[in-house]
Structure formats: structure tokens, C-alpha cells
């Protein structure tokens, strides 16, 4: 298992290198530069800016400089948010996104898994149709619709909760964004759990368990639940990486200082270093989460073992 983990981590390095290199050059190919905007800058000013950020050097030189700094853990200065380095921006924003995303995934699991199981056990009943109908609605309605409605109803009309703002992560400020983030995940997880559970319940080992005379409760808890979780787990890896790196929509609508909006704004502003920083960060997270998922697999399914 340890050898396997080490091997996977070693394999991640070339993957990340490719991701970084491709993103670096793709970013430069995009038309427009970090200093293009509504106003054309005088050439003197633009030269100073290019020199300050080493953009006057040949591209391969810039690449080497970037990689050199990256190896020392330095993501460089942000082109746009000049009082912060990219590292500072990520370190400041990530805990916010992590907290929001973590709570949302937690909530989604707590609600989504039981809903899926109930729907599977009461297959084709009214309960099943209701749960799946609601889940379909949750998937279909995008969060840029749900979030403003939540803010309007609970923030403005009822005035129970703040309509926006982070306020250092105070509980009332968390409620609406977490719900808005979780709704879609609840829907996905419930649907996936239902389908997987139905499949498991139809398999031979469940029939055997029933034939042994085990109670329905034991069949479900002891035998059906664990294998049914596998698809959900494999979905969760990338989903968690996605959700804890923030949602640009939720962050903008609730005015939250997470890192989600850096992905979009960095690209729109041609903030090269910020884009690269977020890409590297996200890449590392994806690799790690996928590894965790694979390790969890072996814990859940005895047929999967990583000995070599």
C-alpha cells in the first residue's frame, strides 16, 4: 500500500509538469495581455510594466524563470492584486473555500445518501418518485438561480440571515452559501446512491444473504451499503476537489473571499501568475483526491488490493 502510494505520487510529477507547461504557454497564446484594458497605456508606461514583470524577456526564459521560482514554492506576484503574492491570495482564500465546500459536501452526504437509500428501497413508490423528482429539480436548477433566491428570501424579505458577506466565517453568514452549494450535490449523490443500491440489491451475494435468513436491516447495513457506496466515492474525489476550490458563482453572489473567483478573474485579467498558481494548486488537489479515492476503494471493496 505504501509502495503503491509512493508510486502514484511519483507518477503525479510528470502529469503536473505537463499541466503547468501547457497552461503556461496556452495562457500566453490568448489574445490580449495583462496590461490591456479600456485605456491604451503610453508606450513608456507599458515598457515599465513589462520590465517589472519580466514580460520583456523571451518566452522560454520566462518559462524557466517561472519554473525556477515554482520549485522554490514561489508562485510570484499577482499582476492584478499587487499588494498580495499569489501564494498569499491562495492561502487567504483557500480556507474559506475549504470550509464552505467541506460543509456543503458534508451536508450533501448526510442528506443525499439516506435519500438515495430510501428511494432505492421503496423503488417505484411515491416516495421514490418524490425524492427523484426533487433531485432532478436540484440538478436542473443552476446555483446562480438558487443563490439569489435564497439571499432574497432569507436575507432581504425575512431578514433571518445576512444576504452576503463572510464576516470572518460567522455561522449565520455560512448558512445560505452552504445550502446553495449543497443542493446540487445532494441531488447528484441521491441519484447515484439510488441507482447503485438498486444494482447491488439485485446481485447474487445479496440473494445469498437473504437466503441465509438475515433480516432485511442486516442485509442492507452489513452487505448492501458498502459496495453501493463505490460509485459515490469515485464521484466524490473530483467533486470534493472541485467544490473546495470554490465556486465563482456562489462567491460573487454572496461576496465571499474564497479562491473560486481567482480562476475566472485571473484568466479574464490575463493575470498570468494568478492563473498558473490556481492551476497548479487545483492540479495537485485533483491528483491527491484521486489517490485518496483509490485508497478508499480498497478499504470498501476487498476485491481491490494494491499489493505488488
Amino acid at each position: 500500500m505504501l509502495t503503491y502510494t509512493a508510486k502514484r505520487l511519483a507518477m503525479a510529477i510528470p502529469t503536473l509538469l505537463i499541466v503547468i507547461t501547457v497552461s503556461f504557454f496556452l495562457m500566453r497564446v490568448a489574445p490580449g495581455g495583462p496590461f490591456d484594458g479600456e485605456r491604451q497605456l503610453p508606450p513608456e508606461i507599458e515598457n515599465n510594466l513589462r520590465a517589472a514583470y519580466h514580460l520583456d524577456e523571451p518566452l522560454p526564459m520566462q518559462y524557466l524563470r517561472y519554473m525556477g521560482n515554482l520549485l522554490q514554492g514561489d508562485f510570484g506576484p499577482s499582476f492584478k492584486y499587487k499588494d498580495f503574492s499569489v501564494t498569499q491570495l491562495i492561502l487567504q482564500g483557500f480556507p474559506v473555500s475549504l470550509e464552505l465546500g467541506g460543509l456543503a459536501i458534508g451536508l450533501a452526504l448526510i442528506i443525499g445518501l439516506p435519500l438515495g437509500v430510501i428511494a432505492a428501497l421503496r423503488r417505484n413508490s411515491t416516495v421514490d418518485y418524490m425524492v427523484m423528482g426533487i433531485a432532478l429539480g436540484g440538478i436542473a436548477v443552476p446555483n446562480f438561480v438558487i443563490a439569489p433566491i435564497l439571499a432574497l428570501v432569507f436575507g432581504v424579505l425575512l431578514a433571518w440571515l445576512p444576504a452576503g458577506g463572510w464576516n470572518g466565517g460567522a455561522l449565520p453568514n455560512l448558512v445560505l452559501p452552504v445550502i446553495a452549494l449543497a443542493i446540487q450535490q445532494i441531488a447528484y449523490i441521491a441519484r447515484m446512491m439510488r441507482a447503485s443500491m438498486i444494482e447491488t440489491l439485485g446481485s447474487h451475494f445479496i440473494r445469498t444473504a437473504r437466503a441465509k435468513g438475515l433480516s432485511e436491516r442486516q442485509v442492507i447495513w452489513r452487505h448492501a451499503l458498502r459496495p453501493s457506496m463505490l460509485p459515490v466515492i469515485s464521484y466524490l474525489g473530483p467533486a470534493i476537489a472541485g467544490i473546495i476550490t470554490g465556486s465563482v458563482v456562489i462567491e460573487q453572489i454572496f461576496g465571499l473571499p474564497g479562491i473560486g473567483r481567482y480562476f475566472v478573474q485571473g484568466a479574464l485579467n490575463r493575470d498570468y501568475t494568478l492563473v498558473m498558481g490556481t492551476v497548479v494548486f487545483y492540479g495537485v488537489l485533483i491528483v491527491l483526491m484521486n489517490l485518496v479515492v483509490d485508497l478508499l476503494y480498497s478499504a470498501l471493496d476487498p476485491q481491490i488490493r494494491y499489493d505488488d
Binding site: D36, G37, Q40, K80, D83, G93, L152, W160, G164, G255
Partner: protein, 533 residues
């Protein structure tokens, strides 16, 4: 017996009481101002700012320059208590207040201005707006690194009580750029100690009415009253929180929920609703901004033909754009320079006084003369940067040109790509806008001067250039006004571009806030406002 409605009502009430403690205490007027600004500032160092209005909003509270603005946007003495200009207009001498202090108690001296201006022009600072100071002697050469920083025409006299500026040439609008953040003093003693880390919260000192205390990127900047500010006794607020609010609709909700006292620049499509539901809070006023279409005058473009440019101008019903398409959140424009610019009367195009029928008759004739007709329709590319507002206007304009047989191909792109295409001249007609840096017609007219980077259409007219060049060195303000008006007249007669609309300022302001005044510069330093009891 169950009373579900009663029960849920009680739960709701309890929750409401528990979760909204801030609504309970209304006895004492608030001394904290929450402002929704339109973006995240790039830096608190004036030399590293990106030029956004949202940065000016913060700078004017944190820093005080030689000249500052009052609640009505009028220029009043700031750190300079008085000043005089030499007869040739080249030497400006500012006498500084004796009681001006940085927030750490250091006196604000002419040295800080000398340092601040050099800091702006130092090539290493890579200040985006350093060119605002180019009228100062040797400024451009210093900024390109050709001359040392010490060659800059600024000096500190009388132990730092007097700040003297030498200009490269007479600059009539020089006084107006002194409210721009590029001319702020910068605390040399702090920058020397901490280098480019001087704006970190633990180091920064400022000389304005407020000093910053915390900054969480994309969350808030907080500032508290600066007790060392020279006019601190007249500053009513204890604290300001600036919230970068990029999603303007979310900003409206936060304003309605009482979380924001001021929301800058609410979206125009919500104006009708806001006017109806929050009439006391919804503000709108004239503004120093022009929304126009650039016409590409480069050879080979159909818009290089003045007849085509005039016809395109004639066919546009600007009042339809402003009233029906934009619901009165813009004013129709018949000239480049907006109304309300000081010492200036905009020179509208002749077509302003023609009936629509006369205009269309003339436009058709012009198109025919230029060789366009049903067999040979005019095909144009129209570019705009992606936004609902620009799209609506472009569609309406294209429809207005259709009766002339003009076939429009519309292209939209994100803002960086759009402006790159403009710089490269890759368009026939393109959307552009200009918000003035200072209240002077020159700031608009220079957009049409030959060789200026922002003259995207490369329109060229020698008479115009001469008039503007002369105006730029004319110290007599009446004569200067005349020259600039003539210049604009020349440009409008040649239909150098298509003036479409004038921007207005749009703010939501808590009606309990006293001292707020709508003004043409849309600048509102927080030191002038307070909450009514």
C-alpha cells in the same frame, strides 16, 4: 389541538430575534459606514493602483493630497493651505499646512510629496498612471529611465513647508490633476523601512481622514478614523468597511438587507425598480463619462469616407437609445464632451436640431453619393466588449442603420481582446467609453488627437490638432475654452466618431446618511457624511 401556523410563526419570530441582533439596537446613530465598491483594489500604494473608480473611492478616504474635494466635488485646499503660480505658468508653489500629520504622528512635509511623485515616476514602480504627472519638468524622461529621479521638477523648500513644482510647459489643467491619486504624498519614512511591503496593514500609515486596519482580499477593507488627521474633529464616522461587490444585483440585495449603506454604480436595468421601491435611496446624476462608437478612419475602411460617417451618425435616434433601450439611465449625446464639464460648452453636431425625416433624407442621399445602394449595400463590422448593455445598444443601432441598407456584422469579445482589436484597427465601428480622469474638456478631446494611443479610429485632422495644441498651452481660461470648443466643432463637423450616450452616476445611498451630495465627478469622500440620529 395543533396550531401549525402559530407554531411556525413562533419559530420564525424566535429565529428572527436570535439571528438579527443588529436590528435591535437603533437608539444611537451608527458611526460605521459600509460601502459596496465596484471592485477589488489592486493596491493601497497609489503608484500600484490599476485606475479603477473603486480605488479612488478608497484613496480619497485614506489619503489627503495638496488639493481635496468637498462633498459637492468642489476642489478645496487639502494639505496645501495656499498656492501661487508664476506668470509664465511654469512654477507652482504650494504652502503646506503646519498641522498635517501621518497616522503615526510624523509630519506630512513637502519631502513626502517629492518622494511620492518620484515614486510614481520611478520606472521600477511601473505605475500605470504615472503619465498623469508628465506635465512636470523631466517627468517623461525620468519615467523612461533616461534621466535620474532627482532631475524631476519638484523640490521641498523651507524645511519641508513649501512644495514647488516646475512644469515642462504651461499646463492650464495642472491644478485639476492634483486631486488624482497619482499626486498624493507617500510616507518616505515608512517606504524606506519596509520597501514594497509598506502597504501591509502592520506598516501602512496614511494622511487622510481614515487609516486602514484590515484587508482580506475580496472580502473587505476596513479603515478607522485617523485621530491625527488635521480636520479630525469634523469627521463623524469611526469606521468604514469597503466591500468589493462585483455582482451588482447581489449588491442591491445586500443594500436592501441593510448590510450596505452605499452601493456604488447599481446596474442600469434595475433603475426603474429601484426608483419605485427605494425612491429615497436611489440616486442618479450627470457624470463625466461619454459612451461612443469609434469610426475607423484608416484608408480602405468604408468609414474613412466622411459621407458614410455622417450618414451613420444621422440615422441614430439617440433619444430612443437613452429612453427606451436604456430606461433613462443614460443621456443622449450629440457631442463627445459631456455636459457639466467646467469652463466648457459642448459643441453638438448639426443633426441635433434636424427632424428625423430631414436626417434620414440627408443620410440616404449621402449613402447614394458614397456609392452605396440596394445593389451595393454597405457592410460593416461592429465590435463591442461583452456585456448585456453593450449588446442591447449595438442591436438597436444596427436596426437604426438598416433603413440605409447597412448590413452589420456584430462581434463581441471580452474586454482585453476587444481593446486589443481596437489598438490594431481591426474593425469598422467599435464601442468605446471614456470616464474623465479630471474635470476638463481636454481629457476628452485628446481622444481624437493624432498619434494618441486612445485615438483608436486613427482620425486625423490638422486643424483639430493645432487648436488643441494651442489650447493646451493657453493660460487664459476663456481663450482656452474657445479654442477647445472650436476643436470639438471641427471634429463633430467631420463626424470623427459617433457620440451615443453620456454616462450618469448611479448610487444607492442610505437615506439616513447626511451630507451626501450627488456631483458630476461622482466623488464622495466619507469625511463629509454622517448618520442622522
Amino acid at each position: 389541538m395543533h396550531h401549525p401556523r402559530l407554531l411556525s410563526g413562533a419559530v420564525a419570530l424566535t429565529l428572527a430575534v436570535l439571528l438579527t441582533p443588529w436590528q435591535a439596537c437603533a437608539a444611537e446613530p451608527s458611526r460605521t459606514l459600509n460601502i459596496g465598491i465596484t471592485g477589488e483594489p489592486a493596491s493601497l500604494d497609489p503608484a500600484r493602483a490599476s485606475g479603477g473608480v473603486w480605488e479612488s473611492d478608497v484613496f480619497m478616504d485614506l489619503y489627503a493630497g495638496l488639493i481635496v474635494e468637498d462633498a459637492a466635488g468642489e476642489h478645496i485646499p487639502g494639505i496645501a493651505k495656499s498656492w501661487e503660480v508664476s506668470d509664465d505658468g511654469l512654477t507652482w508653489t504650494f504652502h503646506l499646512r503646519d498641522d498635517a500629520q501621518w497616522s503615526d504622528g510624523h509630519p506630512v512635509t513637502a519631502e513626502d510629496f517629492v518622494f511620492g511623485w518620484k515614486h510614481q515616476l520611478d520606472p521600477k514602480s511601473a505605475s500605470k498612471y504615472a503619465y498623469m504627472l508628465y506635465p512636470v519638468k523631466n517627468a517623461r524622461a525620468v519615467n523612461t529611465g533616461e534621466k535620474p529621479l532627482d532631475a524631476l521638477g519638484v523640490e521641498s523648500l523651507d524645511d519641508g513647508h513649501t512644495f514647488r513644482v516646475t512644469l515642462a510647459r504651461p499646463t492650464p489643467y495642472f491644478i485639476k490633476i492634483l486631486t488624482h491619486y497619482t499626486s498624493l504624498p507617500i510616507p518616505e519614512h515608512v517606504v524606506e523601512k519596509y520597501g514594497d511591503q509598506w502597504t501591509r496593514m502592520e506598516h501602512i500609515v496614511t494622511d487622510g481622514a481614515f487609516k486602514p486596519t484590515s484587508w482580506v482580499s475580496h472580502d473587505h477593507i476596513s479603515a478607522v478614523k485617523n485621530p491625527r488627521f488635521h480636520d479630525a474633529k469634523n469627521v463623524a464616522l469611526d469606521r468604514i468597511n469597503y466591500y468589493p461587490t462585483e455582482d451588482a444585483n447581489a449588491g442591491i440585495q445586500r443594500f436592501r438587507a441593510g448590510e450596505l449603506d452605499i452601493l456604488r454604480n447599481y446596474t442600469s436595468d434595475r433603475y426603474e425598480w429601484l426608483k419605485q421601491h427605494l425612491p429615497d435611496a436611489t440616486h442618479m446624476d450627470t457624470y463625466l463619462g461619454s459612451y461612443y462608437y469609434v469610426l475607423n478612419s484608416r484608408e480602405g475602411r468604408p468609414t474613412a469616407d466622411p459621407r458614410v460617417r455622417e450618414a451613420l451618425n444621422l440615422a441614430i435616434r439617440r433619444n430612443v437609445l437613452s429612453e427606451q433601450i436604456m430606461q433613462d439611465t443614460f443621456q443622449p449625446a450629440y457631442a463627445l464632451v459631456p455636459p457639466g464639464v467646467s469652463h466648457y460648452t459642448a459643441q453638438p453636431m448639426v443633426l441635433k436640431d434636424m427632424t428625423m425625416e430631414e436626417r434620414m433624407t440627408r443620410a440616404r442621399q449621402l449613402m447614394q453619393d458614397a456609392g452605396y445602394g440596394p445593389d451595393h449595400p454597405l457592410r460593416l463590422t461592429l465590435r463591442y466588449n461583452t456585456s448585456d448593455e453593450h449588446k442591447k445598444i449595438a442591436i438597436a443601432v444596427a436596426a437604426m442603420w438598416r433603413p440605409l441598407g447597412v448590413q452589420v456584422e456584430m462581434t463581441n469579445a471580452e474586454v482585453t481582446v476587444h481593446y486589443q482589436a481596437l489598438q490594431e484597427g481591426d474593425f469598422d465601428v467599435a464601442r468605446a467609453g471614456w470616464i474623465a480622469d479630471y474635470n476638463d474638456a481636454e481629457n476628452f478631446l485628446t481622444l481624437l488627437h493624432t498619434g494618441v494611443g486612445n485615438n483608436y479610429g486613427a482620425w486625423h485632422n490638422e486643424q483639430f490638432d493645432q487648436l488643441l495644441d494651442e489650447a493646451n498651452v493657453t493660460l487664459d481660461s476663456d481663450k482656452r475654452e474657445q479654442l477647445m470648443e472650436q476643436a470639438e466643432g471641427v471634429a463633430m463637423n467631420d463626424h470623427a466618431l459617433i457620440p451615443l450616450l453620456y454616462y450618469v452616476s448611479r448610487n444607492l445611498v442610505n437615506p439616513q446618511l447626511e451630507g451626501w451630495q450627488d456631483n458630476i465627478e461622482d466623488n464622495h469622500p466619507s469625511r463629509w457624511v454622517k448618520f442622522s440620529p
